[in-house]
């Protein structure tokens, strides 16, 4: 959306920040009205800044933005939801960071998509009270892919178009979905996917969150879905994501002090 007015007021989600100048920060925001934008927050590294607390990563705030010479300048900020419960433990920080990272990596500047904005906010809200945060993340990935136009095909074989039957299958990131065992075996790069994992992914893809959240996958199936989704996302982005390795390290902190080797993602 081209910006005609000099100032605009919009709800926004803070994605990332970088320090510039004496006490300023350059923020990457996902706004409801303008999509992803860069904006300067002046003086926010000073302790007495009235804006600083409202501009931390994964804070949902209402912002007043003014058109600067090159960049937008944040003139006012007020928190709508700081998602405090997520900030109180490392797993929460990891999961919220993952939500943020996907948006940041998959979107381009100045292309607004309010549905992506609302999906992210709802996902953070769901993570706050989720019994199974991994299910919330998988649901989020599938919805985000829908909105971005990368919806994986999970109903029929990506090569021979045959209806997928109730048995173990293959998944090809290159083909954008499942392949039947016949086609899968002969396709380079296709990886096996168990019937159970596929069933849950299909369930998540075609249900609303309320229906989706009744699913209770076993831990092995959770791991399988996580690896598969991250494989697909990494393929689409053509580079590795940062947060999954953080989340894995935190997970293993509970059981041991040693950090496990990262799971290969390609």
């Amino acid at each position: 959306m081209p910006l005609r007015e000099r100032t605009i007021r919009t709800p926004a989600l803070v994605l990332r920040h970088r320090e510039i100048g004496e006490a300023d920060r350059l923020l990457v925001l996902y706004t409801e009205q303008l999509g992803k934008i860069h904006a300067i927050a002046k003086g926010v590294r000073k302790l007495k800044s009235r804006k600083a607390g409202h501009l931390e990563p994964f804070t949902h705030s209402t912002l007043q933005l003014a058109k600067g010479r090159d960049l937008m300048i944040i003139t006012q900020a007020e928190t709508l939801n700081a998602f405090l419960p997520l900030r109180e433990n490392l797993a929460g920080v990891g999961h919220a960071s993952y939500v943020i990272e996907l948006i940041d990596r998959f979107t381009y500047e100045n292309e607004e998509n309010p549905r992506i904005f609302h999906l992210a906010i709802r996902t953070l809200e769901r993570l706050q009270r989720a019994k199974d945060p991994l299910l919330v993340l998988r649901f989020y990935e599938l919805r985000l892919l829908d909105l971005l136009g990368f919806r994986p095909e999970l109903q029929q074989c990506g090569l021979c178009q045959a209806e997928i039957k109730a048995q173990d299958q293959y998944f090809s990131a290159e083909r954008g979905g499942v392949l039947c065992p016949n086609c899968g075996r002969s396709t380079p790069g296709a990886r096996p996917i168990s019937m159970e994992a596929l069933r849950y992914l299909r369930h998540l893809q075609r249900s609303n969150f309320q229906q989706a959240s009744v699913a209770r996958p076993r831990p092995e199936i959770h791991t399988e879905m996580e690896i598969l989704m991250q494989h697909y996302l990494t393929y689409l982005l053509e580079r590795n994501l940062n947060t999954p390795s953080f989340i894995r390290k935190i997970r293993h902190l509970d059981t041991t002090d040693h950090v496990p080797p990262a799971i290969e993602n390609d």
């Binding site: 004496e22 607390g53 990563p57 993952y98 940041d104 940062n242 390795s245 002090d257």
Partner: protein
């Protein structure tokens, strides 16, 4: 027309610094070109000495002179060796020293965990901190910044130190001196409430 090479080279060098754009870079370069006093030679000398004469303390990783293995603070017999204050950057050490209210030792992490930017445990001096616990330490003060990344780092260290006998504390947070309640964010206000203190009746 192109600028003479020495001038252009200095402008290019300045523009690589954080916060300095091409315009500021050329202004600085031309200022130095014009000055007749010792500004330029002094700057050149200071720049060369910066890397040549400094190193990191082997114990706390604060910046120190290159002829020292350990920094002045770690070397000072009057400092309390049972307390270690963990900070993000060397500048934080100087900020805390200015208060004059702390007499323990420090540990500089040289960064914070940032899941989104991909800065992980191995990028910081965390293992070096854990190794220092063998030396009769009774308290670790986590003084990382009160930000998402600083908090995540503190939480991580808290978890890693959970099994040890040391007392782990975090700097208090709340309303800044001269602040205004109505502008405070949820996070700060909640922590200020949680950390409220009994008023001394004078």
């Amino acid at each position: 027309m192109q600028l003479p090479e020495p001038v252009q080279k200095l402008i290019d060098a300045f523009s690589r610094l954080p916060g300095i754009g091409p315009k500021t870079a050329s202004r600085l370069a031309f200022y130095l070109l014009r000055t007749t006093d010792d500004t330029a030679p002094a700057l050149a000398e200071a720049l060369q000495a910066l890397k040549a004469n400094t190193s990191l303390c082997r114990v706390c990783f604060n910046i120190t002179l290159s002829d020292r293995e350990i920094c002045e603070i770690c070397d000072d017999p009057r400092r309390d060796r049972s307390v270690i204050c963990v900070v993000e950057e060397p500048l934080d050490v100087f900020a805390l020293e200015r208060t004059g209210g702390y007499s323990g030792l420090y540990h500089v992490l040289h960064g914070v965990l940032s899941p989104i930017e991909g800065i992980g445990v191995d990028d910081l001096r965390i293992q070096e901190l854990l190794d220092r616990l063998k030396e009769n330490v009774t308290e670790i003060i986590l003084a990382t910044n009160p930000s998402m990344e600083g908090d995540a780092t503190a939480m991580y260290l808290g978890r890693r130190l959970a099994g040890s006998k040391v007392r782990v504390t975090r700097l208090a947070r709340g309303l800044p001196v001269g602040g205004d309640l109505e502008y405070a964010d949820q996070n700060t206000l909640k922590r200020a409430l949680d950390g409220r203190q009994t008023l001394e009746r004078g």
